[in-house]
Symmetry: C2
Subunit: 311 residues, 2 copies
């Protein structure tokens, strides 16, 4: 456990950890009062996400690498969900083991594992001690078109998810029982992989990333667009991966539709699409947009179980 | 204690709390996956600051309003220290009393009390439960000139602070003894006021805000500029406010120079200035820049007591 002598030393180490070939846009990176980015012809897109120990993650289940990677994934998903390209991150972290360089390094490496994949650069940060680990990441992106808003769904649109969610919820259910297998299911919860839904982005009339579950996130789109979202069990049951998920749910005596509709954190995407643009590569069609006042229904019935709520 | 029914309701309340006349630059504010800002001809300046309960503040001493205002102050100071103008904030907060709308409202109002003063708008946020309150704010600013870096100090420059620091440290010392008077001293710690050092910004060769104390922040400039910073007790003793501060320190058996040189959180500014630009309105001259390798000295001796370290 290498010891850190001082905050200045730690910041120096972090600067090394986050050092990349500075993109041409970054004029000043980590190490001054603030970062400076060259003027851009693009619109700026900005979002912040926070993860708190024992609320969003447990240290017993997740490594610092996984915690860093997962929040970065969630954060970049928000930028992609606007139709934008993420470019820069600012990271604020409170850690308990402030004298343990390994923890800081693993957290930074987890963040970089996702950021590097999408050519995103960490340009600033703040590091503090805390009784619980907490992490807050701000992502900045660039947008050259109009943003894809939650308010754009039209009656008659088809409802898509970029892939069938639920595996993350399944992984959480397994961990909650003190188990850690099947490993690929647990990994889906601890280490979700971000796949940019390029085909969906190209045609979506509305879009958001699924972080709080299809019902909650779909409801945000339904309310913002002043429509109802009608989901279909039949459409969902036809999706690739459904039968494996159902088998897992049956083994654990859980409802597979709860996992699919209320589980968050797969970081797939929810979108509505004009039927004339429908095609398989968009993902899984799970419903349609109807006239209404912001409700999400399953086979016509209001969905009772809400998605994950942080409160 | 009004109760919040759900995260969606809370976010709706926050959207109301942070609602301002949207600046022309803000195309999408709070309420979608991310905020969208129109393309700007200016450079973008970005910084993040974090404050954690029982590390940076105590709930027994500070109200949620003060906690929000103080971190916003620190955050905007970083943008001003680059010579830039702050424009937007993203706020991530973890609060213990998630069902207490008063706490959320007061925190938001504290942030707005500072943001409004400088015409800065909150464009995004994240809210979570946490065992301890924590707050992370990202400030985005615009810059039309070259940034004022820490690395710009030149041998022969004069060393200035925008005002004599130390009152915040005095306030902390008083609170630490279980006292709460003189009130203006305690207030200096709990509720520091941000004054933009426009005259200093116009001529500074290097600059940073003083958050960790003159010694620590001066040392950052000395190292980045590869010079020594030589401070003078005589110059400091001549400053306005010094004798009041010394009287307080003597009463509490503390060293006034410790407060001035090691106390942070006044959020004044440290800068170096070419002697040809010297004038009274810049603030207080406390030393000079000499050849060296990054040390800060007082009357030629290395300063022993370091500034506030978060570790």
């Amino acid at each position: 456990m290498p010891l850190i002598e001082s905050e200045a030393t730690l910041i120096e180490r972090l600067r090394e950890l986050f050092h990349t070939q500075l993109q041409s846009g970054v004029e000043v990176g980590i190490g001054d009062d603030a970062a400076v980015i060259s003027a851009s012809k693009s619109k700026l897109v900005a979002t912040v996400d926070m993860a708190i120990e024992d609320v969003h993650f447990r240290r017993a289940w997740s490594t610092p690498f996984q915690i860093g990677a997962k929040l970065t994934t969630a954060n970049l998903a928000d930028i992609f969900a606007m139709g934008a390209k993420p470019k820069y991150l600012l990271v604020a972290a409170a850690i308990t083991e402030t004298n343990n360089l390994d923890v800081v390094t693993e957290l930074a490496n987890g963040i970089r594992s996702v950021a590097d994949k999408f050519e995103v650069e960490v340009i600033g940060g703040d590091l503090s001690q805390g009784e619980k680990m907490s992490l807050s990441i701000t992502a900045l992106g660039e947008l050259d078109t109009n943003p894809i808003l939650r308010s754009g769904a039209k009656v008659g649109d088809l409802v898509y998810v970029s892939a069938l969610p639920g595996l993350s919820a399944a992984g959480l259910a397994i961990l909650g029982r003190g188990l850690d297998r099947p490993r690929y299911v647990v990994e889906a919860h601890l280490n979700p992989k971000l796949a940019v839904p390029s085909a969906l982005i190209a045609v979506a009339t509305s879009m958001c990333d699924i972080s709080d579950g299809v019902t909650t996130d779909g409801s945000n789109i339904a309310k913002a667009s002043e429509v109802d979202i009608e989901l279909s069990k039949q459409l969902i049951s036809n999706a690739a991966g459904f039968s494996d998920l159902k088998e897992l749910a049956d083994e654990l005596n859980e409802d597979v539709f709860d996992w699919i509709l209320s589980g968050g954190e797969d970081h797939f995407f929810f979108a509505t699409v004009d039927p004339k643009n429908a095609k398989n590569e968009l993902g899984v069609q799970i419903g349609v947009v109807k006239e209404g006042k912001g409700q999400v229904t399953l086979d016509g019935a209001i969905i009772q179980k809400a998605g994950y709520q942080h409160f």
